[in-house]
């Protein structure tokens, strides 16, 4: 691994101009020691600066305090530490060259020799930072340590880079730690529990050493390799607002177990266990930008969530070559929400301008979702096994009241549709998947195609929906068309999904002439068989007799089967160009020749739904990629991909049972619908600087595509605003998308500045028919986010974020009508650590939304909080938060699709004040560590 290293001063001050120069020698053997670690400490053992000696065995320190006793310590593997006490005289800025003569540590283990710990060293291919060498606050976490390490950048978005390369995995003692989220690791583990931070590159495939990823391992001190940490927190505030979380995680050398539960009525919805763990960290409530209640979330939510996470490693020291691990996750999510919304949807029509639909709805929903997954992984030698079992069970109950009215712009409404429905849904799924991956032993069987991968999965599930729906439709112009429907649905379904996939090869030595054998040939196959059985019972209430009568059309049963078989032959050729110590270049050309056989059959009690279809499509894809790694300078990746994919009409698109209960949306089928075929060309470009200082990387992605036989919408709107939708095959659906992401960090002695910019856009053309007139919506979407993160020591963290998005849709055909909308948000947040105990933070967001046909909305959300930590280990936190101080929060709905644009508002969380007490139970190892 090529990890460069140059010394970086940890502290510096323009008034400190002392120089200390010297040389490290083994005089008994008459040579200098190259790459020995030399560190300068103050009298009270605080690390001031450190370097590795150069090829002359020399070190040169600048910017040291004068007239201050200093200790210069040299360390080198296999040698006893050597130290010298020096003081740079006040009158001079430079001393005479000093010599540190080191003695070999005979018959001692190298690890035992070191008493003054070297801050950094290269241990073979691993760059190791010794945590004990960095003196930080006793309550510092791994994140604080990483920020001190030369070449390491912890980005505002949580990404960690080392010398510009992104760290893909952060491990603890060589294992994933509580799901592997780096934030859980670096914000929970105290710096004092860490022995070393190790950075190395791991090869993903041993046969291709360049296919490597950057890894970071947090090696804990032996005495700290077991313990527990967590958070218990409760808060109560104005208007009955509350929040609570309880999390405790236990770990030992081989086993990890964490349990978490949370509940609130302030729109903090996690949705999975890792988000809960991520937001319950000890450090997370410090100077960072805090996890906030989601003010932009629609409605008011009352989530109750929890679960556990378990991991057991059957071998204590898994690595790239061997692994034997069982993991299990359980999550239960219960939410009660209420969303009241009011929207206006403008649809561009034919010659008589636009139609405006007003919608007012009130939705109450409660439900529980449960998910249990168990995974077993084993990797040994050339074989990797994996078995995953998963079960889910969901129940949802909802009540929805809607009032809709439709009219032309500037005129009164033509019709109204009021709906009330009550739904009870439940579903259960169970799945099991097993895979085996075998790498061939190239030295024993160089010509055999011995490499293979096989995966099989099976899922079984059932569902039950009960719905009561009452709809009242009234027409202003023709009261004869008024109708009231009161309908009851009892739908039961069950399904099975099976998938078998394998790949085998390289076959080149068998099928290709010798001169073509550098092409890697693999045979791949994917087979999917899905079945879906449905039994529907629908009853309509007779308005005269008040009795429910059987609806023969909507009731019935069906059995639907889909078989999807995709054999492929894949050809890959890698071309390398290398020049030692200068560059590595690799060109990869890949062709995937793939055929798709698609079969579907539906047997229904309604004969018009009895459909059998067979399709066969050629769906090739090809890619060309190029990597240019100029050592010490930069690494560039380019790739160009072309893919053909096909989409097949489902039974609901071909021959659905048309339910006319919602007269504003009547979906009709089209038995003549043909499969659509998408052709997409995409280009990716990535650049990362390999320079150690001021990390810079960017990514560019552009894709271009068109869909043949696009499943378009043909809409017929009658005089009173009733809409009927038909699926039709259409030409002329094209898109062009692009996104650019730029990241640059500037790291100074005490300050850090990170700039991240994302800008993207999408141009698309969506064809449709509107009352039999061909229309195409040409839309432009543009979005931009600029984020500037600034930190000064641990004292101040500031974040500035600017979002801007713009959407414009131009109709072509029915009328050249243009819609547009804009959303803009400016966010500034500042967090200030007044002392090690007190943190004050505040953030303010200016929002502005504007849309065609509306006056626009401006609102500002201002939040502030103050927290104070108590107890010796800062385990107890008292926090007062004031949210939406200006009482302006408004949730704006503002989006456009095709020839429609929707603008509206919903109920949201508004101003409240809350007081929260949190306790962080933590223990790493037993008692005091000897190294502390």
């Amino acid at each position: 691994m090529a990890i460069g290293y140059t010394a970086v001063a940890q502290t510096g001050d323009s008034t400190q101009i002392g120089h200390v120069d010297g040389i490290v020698r083994d005089s008994a053997h008459n040579y200098v020691l190259v790459s020995a670690t030399v560190a300068v400490y103050s009298k009270d053992s605080n690390l001031i600066n450190f370097q590795l000696t150069n090829t002359l065995g020399e070190f040169h320190f600048k910017g040291l305090p004068r007239n201050t006793p200093l200790v210069v310590v040299a360390t080198y593997v296999g040698y006893e530490n050597e130290m010298l006490h020096v003081t740079v005289p006040l009158k001079e800025d430079r001393m005479e060259m000093i010599t540190l003569n080191m003695k070999r540590a005979e018959n001692k283990l190298p690890e035992l020799v070191v008493s003054y710990v070297p801050p950094v060293r290269m241990n073979k291919d691993t760059l190791e930072f010794n945590a004990d060498a960095f003196k930080l606050d006793p309550n510092a976490q791994v994140e604080d340590l990483l920020k001190k390490l030369p070449g390491v950048t912890v980005w505002g978005d949580g990404t960690i880079t080392v010398n510009g390369k992104q760290v893909v995995n952060v491990m603890v003692n060589g294992k994933p730690f509580f799901g592997g989220d780096s934030k859980v690791i670096i914000q929970n583990i105290p710096k004092n529990a860490v022995d070393k931070v190790q950075v190395y590159q791991q090869n993903k495939t041993p046969e291709n050493p360049r296919d490597s990823v950057m890894m970071m391992n947090i090696k804990l001190k032996n005495s700290k390799s077991f313990g527990h940490f967590g958070k218990v927190s409760a808060g109560y505030g104005t208007d009955g607002h509350y929040q609570s979380v309880a999390n405790i995680n236990f770990f030992s050398r081989q086993t990890q177990f964490g349990i978490v539960g949370a509940g609130n009525n302030i729109n903090k919805v996690a949705g999975n266990i890792s988000t809960l763990l991520r937001n319950s960290t000890y450090k997370g409530v410090g100077a960072g930008i805090e996890y906030q209640p989601d003010f932009s979330m629609q409605g008011v939510n009352r989530p109750l969530e929890g679960g556990f996470i378990f991991q057991h490693d059957f071998i204590p020291d898994p690595d790239f070559y061997k692994n034997n691990r069982l993991t299990a996750n359980y999550f239960i999510h219960n939410n009660t929400s209420r969303i009241s919304r009011q929207t206006q949807t403008i649809t561009s029509l034919g010659a008589d301008s636009v139609q405006v639909q007003q919608n007012r709805s009130d939705n109450k929903q409660s439900g529980t979702e449960q998910d249990l997954s168990i995974q077993y992984d084993k990797h040994r030698g050339n074989n990797t096994y994996q078995i995953i079992g998963e079960g889910t069970a969901n129940v949802t109950k909802s009540n929805n009241i809607q009032q809709n009215s439709i009219g032309n712009k500037g005129t009164e409404y033509k019709s109204a549709n009021d709906v009330e429905n009550n739904v009870l849904k439940s579903a259960r799924n169970f799945s099991v998947a097993a895979s085996l991956d075998h790498k061939k032993d190239a030295s024993n069987h160089p010509n055999s195609p011995g490499q293979f991968n096989i995966k099989y999965s099976f899922e079984i599930g059932d569902g039950k929906d009960t719905e009561l729906n009452r709809t009242v439709f009234s027409s202003l112009y023709s009261p004869a068309e008024n109708q009231e429907i009161n309908r009851r649905y009892d739908n039961n379904s069950n399904h099975t999904d099976q998938q078998l996939s394998f790949s085998l090869g390289n076959f080149s030595h068998w099928i290709l002439p010798r001169w073509l054998q550098s092409i890697n040939t693999t045979l791949q196959n994917e087979l999917m068989v899905n079945t879906y059985h449905q039994l529907n019972s629908v009853l309509d209430k007779d308005t005269i007799t008040n009795n429910y009568l059987h609806n023969n059309y909507l009731s019935g049963n069906s059995h639907y089967i889909i078989m999807n078989e995709m054999p492929a032959l894949n050809f890959t050729r890698n071309i390398y160009q290398r020049l030692a110590d200068r560059y590595n270049k690799m060109l990869t050309i890949n062709f995937n020749v793939q055929q798709q056989f698609y079969y579907q059959k539906n047997n229904s009690s309604h004969t018009f739904q009895n459909i059998t279809q067979n399709y066969s499509n050629f769906i090739p894809n090809a890619a060309i990629s190029y990597e240019n790694n100029q050592f010490g300078e930069f690494k560039d990746n380019y790739s160009l991909k072309f893919a053909v994919t096909a989409a097949y009409p489902t039974i609901d698109q071909l021959a659905p049972l048309t339910d006319s209960i919602n007269l504003y949306y009547i979906q009709q089928g089209n038995p003549h619908l043909k499969p659509s075929k998408k052709k997409e060309l995409s280009f990716n470009w990535g650049h990362s600087s390999s320079r150690m200082k001021n990390t810079f990387y960017y990514k560019v992605n552009i894709s271009l595509g068109s869909v043949q036989n696009y499943f378009g919408d043909s809409i017929i709107i009658d005089a009173v605003g009733r809409r009927t939708h038909y699926w039709v095959n259409m030409g002329g659906n094209n898109f062009l998308k692009g996104i650019i992401n730029l990241n640059k960090a500037f790291k100074f002695t005490h300050q850090e500045l990170q700039v991240q910019l994302t800008t993207g856009g999408e141009l698309s053309r969506i064809p449709s028919y509107m009352n039999d007139i061909l229309n195409s919506s040409n839309s432009l979407l543009n979005y931009n986010t600029l984020n500037i993160h600034y930190a000064y020591k641990d004292k101040v963290a500031a974040n500035f974020e600017q979002h801007y998005s713009f959407y414009r849709s131009l109709q072509n055909g029915i009328q050249n009508y243009s819609f547009n909308n804009r959303n803009r948000a400016t966010m500034l947040s500042v967090s200030f650590n007044g002392s090690k105990k007190l943190t004050i933070s505040s953030n303010i967001t200016f929002n502005r939304a504007k849309s065609s046909g509306s006056t626009g909305a401006n609102f500002t959300i201002w939040n502030a909080d103050a927290s104070y930590r108590l107890l010796k280990d800062n385990n107890l936190e008292l926090k007062f938060s004031a949210l939406d101080l200006l009482h302006q929060n408004t949730s704006i709905i503002n989006y456009g699709i095709g020839n429609t644009i929707t603008y509206g508002k919903t109920n949201v969380l508004q101003q409240y004040f809350i007081f929260t007490i949190s306790y962080f139970p933590r223990k790493f190892g037993k008692g005091k560590d000897i190294n502390k």
Partner: protein, 415 residues
């Protein structure tokens, strides 16, 4: 040529030497007793360039689109030229001794041989041809201007060390239970393609040391002493032999501390069959062989092979004073313009290849220009002057794409 990399390919055709039935067998007896050298690597001394070296010359090699190459895998030095094999670009490059580009041989271009990689080449001092083995039956000959001369039939001898006009020595070892129960010889000297001498017989089927127990990295058997003599080394053997067309004898017997030595029965203990590579991998301090042996006056240079990759491994032993010096630990000073004489401490060239060759008392190594440029910064505040060539190179051609540089040095004789 001074050394020669003999690459034995697994699964290559077998040499059935018994077909040459009339060959006289020579036991390889030593006319003299070998000199015993007791080497404890931990006692090796270091020193500065001024203390140990008489003369050091840095020669940058011209970089242009035609002459650009990666690293030096094999180097031959003639009075006029440096002849360089770069396996990455699969080419042989010829530079003048001043570093100017002279010619280039690309086998692929000349013979449309597709994926064929040049494993090594021979410089024939008698014909002044560069001989590139292409298969076990013929070589291609080029002159030092890079021009193709002829295709040369080499019979069934693979390729070996040129040990005199029409005389060739080659090493071959193939042992596997699937092979025929027959006797073969590790070392054969042949004249006009007819075996003249055969040494170290073994049974191809039953020999305890199997093919899969052979570690081929750094497996170099011959290091030339003069036009008709060479040092010869066997795998897992601490004996240094001297080979001439007529004789083979053990010149030096190396003895290492017990913790660094292979077990006495390492090659014969059948319980180690198929486990020898993992044994070496697990016992990283064990010296499993010797390589890069050169003798200049009383100075014997050698490299000790072990799997302890970051450790030092090139040494100089003065046969008169019995002093042991570690080449990796020689620190640069004014005499070398504060530039390291090898990249042992900062790169991989010297670790992988050791001294590339020896010529007229000078030893040769190389490292990348990037390394040179980095090291130059270290000497910024020192009081010294670069020689004109180096000064010009550092000032005008500071380009990370530049070719490697060649360093040649002559050690003092009274070490």
């Amino acid at each position: 040529m001074k050394n020669f990399t003999l690459r034995i390919l697994h699964g290559a055709g077998l040499l059935m030497l018994l077909e040459f039935g009339m060959i006289q067998l020579t036991s390889g007896q030593n006319p003299l007793n070998p000199v015993t050298l007791r080497i404890d690597p931990t006692t090796a001394q270091g020193g500065t360039v001024s203390q140990l070296i008489d003369s050091v010359v840095f020669t940058p090699l011209e970089t242009n689109p035609q002459s650009s190459f990666g690293q030096i895998d094999q180097l031959e030095v003639t009075d006029k030229y440096f002849i360089i094999l770069d396996q990455q670009t699969n080419s042989i490059l010829i530079f003048t001794r001043k570093g100017d580009f002279h010619a280039k041989i690309e086998l692929k271009k000349a013979y449309h041989s597709g994926e064929y990689h040049i494993p090594a080449f021979n410089y024939n001092k008698f014909t002044h041809f560069i001989e590139i083995p292409f298969s076990r039956s013929f070589s291609f000959c080029y002159n030092t201007d890079g021009q193709f001369v002829k295709k040369m039939v080499v019979f069934d001898f693979e390729y070996g060390l040129i040990l005199g006009k029409n005389t060739l020595a080659y090493y071959s070892y193939h042992s596997d239970p699937r092979f025929k129960d027959s006797t073969a010889y590790e070392l054969v000297v042949a004249k006009d393609s007819v075996p003249l001498k055969k040494y170290f017989p073994y049974n191809m089927k039953t020999a305890t040391l199997k093919d899969k127990d052979m570690l081929y990295s750094n497996h170099i058997n011959f290091y030339r002493l003069d036009d008709t003599a060479a040092f010869f080394l066997r795998p897992y053997d601490y004996t240094l032999y001297t080979l001439s067309p007529e004789t083979l004898y053990a010149s030096y017997q190396f003895i290492f501390p017990a913790m660094n030595s292979l077990p006495a029965n390492f090659t014969t203990d059948s319980s180690l069959n198929y486990k020898r590579l993992s044994f070496i991998e697990e016992n990283k301090d064990i010296i499993y062989g010797l390589s890069n042996v050169y003798k200049v006056g009383d100075n014997l240079f050698f490299k000790l092979l072990d799997r302890n990759t970051p450790g030092a491994n090139s040494y100089l032993y003065n046969l008169r004073s019995n002093n042991l010096l570690c080449i990796d630990k020689i620190s640069p000073d004014k005499k070398s313009y504060y530039l390291p004489i090898t990249d042992a401490q900062i790169g991989v060239n010297f670790k992988n290849h050791g001294f590339l060759t020896e010529d007229k008392g000078f030893l040769f190594t190389s490292y990348s220009s990037q390394t040179l440029f980095q090291q130059e910064e270290i000497s910024l505040n020192k009081d010294f002057k670069y020689p004109p060539t180096l000064f010009k190179y550092l000032n005008n051609k500071k380009n990370a794409r530049s070719n490697p540089i060649i360093i040649q040095m002559r050690f003092k004789t009274d070490l």
